[in-house]
Amino acid sequence: MPHADPLAHGAHVLTVCNACRYCEQFCPVFPAIEQRVVFDRVDLAYLANLCHNCGECLYACQYAPPHEFGINVPRTLAEIRLDSYEHYAWPQPLAARLRRNAPLTTAGLVVAFTALFFATSVLTAGGAVWRARPGGDFYAVVPHAVMVAVFGSVFVFAVLALAIGVARFAGDVRRSGVEAGRSPAGGRDWRAIRDALTLRHLHAAGADCVSGEEERRPWRRWCHHLVLGGFLLCFASTTVAAIYHGVFGWLAPYGITSLPVVLGTLGGVGLTAGSSGLWVLYGRRDPSLGDPAQRAGDRSFLALLFTTTVTGLVLLGLRASAAMGVLLIVHLATVLALFVTLPYGKFVHGFYRAAALVAFERERDPASPH
């Protein structure tokens, strides 16, 4: 049951936490609560994004449901996280529209982009889409200039939208920070980035993440690492390919042992394994640890990641066959749908969380164990 006003409810929950403090060594959220007395929208957004949803504090809480106080910090902060993404997103109306009924929107975008690419291909390259190409020349199906124009502009837009959202959030948090400047500014930023990349606080209270009461398993953390690592490898693959093309004039398709193909394959395998693993774990995890209203959105993102990489890998395997053209178009459409929705979906959590961790490192008490 989502709370009618997640912010008012969140302020109440954190007031209880601040009077209790039993959870103070689980993660940075609790020391950060203790540095505050009242919890306004910015404080709540900051604390919510500091939370890694490890889940420890729900089972430890003497006030958790069915206690009449009904305190569920992981769920409350998950609700506020979503609110913060919507609040800071740019442009906001697009964010709201894309998030509404995420599975249908995502699927709709894939279908629409497939149709557009198909039309483009037929208009610019005639019937190339149906024919096998020795070695698999993608540009015969969708011309290079079209790909660069479409993906370049969407990529620039996605980066810009994401950067504006994260910058708004980080700016608000910085301006409202408690005892800002306690530590030398920037002196600890490296630590925050390291913590974000290693997911230190997803398992800070023990060796592993929580999937149920007294149930700690490493899988969620490992799958997450596979997804992030896979994403970065795929990104590196595309970047290397762009350099090959633009700087050296080496044109695709590249050989099976070339750097772009090796990076892309490794990344694709990681992403496929990680996203499907997260999907399975999502279903097995105690549902009270999350916000049920976000299930559909989170899973749409996982499904899109999975589809993008699976179509990519199949495309690589069958690039010499007659199916290449259709596969390429479907793959390009999913990648495009992924990029369009990136600034408005689950993807943003990494950036918001990193920004929150940077703010935490700057304000935290140097004597605290986190």
Binding site: A19, Q25, E56, Q62, A205, E214, P369
Partner: protein, 459 residues
Amino acid sequence: MSGDYDVLVVGGGNAALCAALTAREAGCRVAVVERAPRAFRGGNSRHTRNLRCAHLAPTPVLTGAYAEDEFVADLLRVNGGETDIALARLLIQQSLECAEWMGRHGVRFQAALSGTLHLSRTNAFFLGGGKSLMNAYYAAAARLGVDVAYDTEVVGLEVEDQEVRIETLAAGEHRVVRAAAAVIASGGFESNLEWLREAWGEAADRFIVRGTPYNTGGPLKLLLAAGAESVGDPRACHAIAVDARAPRFDGGIVTRLDCIPLGIVVNRHGDRFADEGEDFWPKRYANWGALIAAQPGQDAWCLVDAKMAGRFMPSVFPPIVAGSVGELATRLGLPSERLEATVRAFNAALEPGQFDLETLDNCRTRHLAPPKSHWALPLDTPPFQGYPLRPGITFTYLGLKVDDRARVVLRGRPSRNLFAAGEVMAGNILRRGYLAGIGMTIGTVFGRIAGAQAADAAR
């Protein structure tokens, strides 16, 4: 629950689970009978936070050293020497092993460097608090194969030399469970309002019970009726000042108010009635339950001014705020002229001094009854804040007398197969006063002793 057991444990808190795990590891068939539903299992242990333990050198969870003699001296200072000193020494010696044993059974501790309440030299803090500890113990019990019956009340108890028969009531159904030995770890009777009324009269109706509503003292009452020897006074309890807006039961830690030494406390007539700054708050907070219980209607209000706002641990309920003392009186439902007079008299009696919360400072009243001996500053800076107070009872001391093997003294001699551990026998160690974290020490040490002895008796 089916079949018979070697050891039956009555209760589901820290002492009960320590006994159950110990007996199970000694090879016994063990069952735990917990009155609470699963979600509220763990008795008052679910509201605890730490355990006091002696140690000879710093550990990852404790700083410095805390020798047996210092621990004994601390105990004797708070309980006024009323103790079974042999049991107290046994407790303190065995507390040395607690943290290691707890860790082996899944309990996690905070790192020692956190300065919460400045107790990390004497007390080991549970990571996530007592509910987290209980979750770990219940998980260990499930792993080891201890049977646990929730929502099950003990309504009858017969002790014979070779067998203990326990009548349980669950979902309206009575049944008798037989065991070779039993451990009573069912806590005190602080949630039994009728029993409290016997000791406190009508004042008990206004008490707030800080902990579990399931500690109604049923097994204790059954055993006292069957001739078990008792320790402690039925009136003896640990009670503090809590916010009057707290729930009747189970409000736990967040309803306590720490603002008393920073302000003044008045009763419903608008009069002060005790020295708010007598000593450091950690040494005095447990006196305020009884002080408020003695006031008309068991009501009191703590007033602070804007100078003190934010200088005490935030509580879960917001203060009632007003621009003047008279207006605050109206908001709190107190006689405003009388309250204004009280505040005027208090402010006029103040001696100038150097305010310092870290020391017993020299800010005090002169020729005022009752005095405020430290941290007395004029109540003169609006906005003024008021918190309604009530007595909040934490636990009771009346319990079962035991010997050094945790055997219940029954009809004049230690029972062969009935043992007690935890709050139900804490009165053997202290019958008044309190030493932070010693309740969990008593539960852990005597739980383990009782579990081992019950296993022996069952052979």
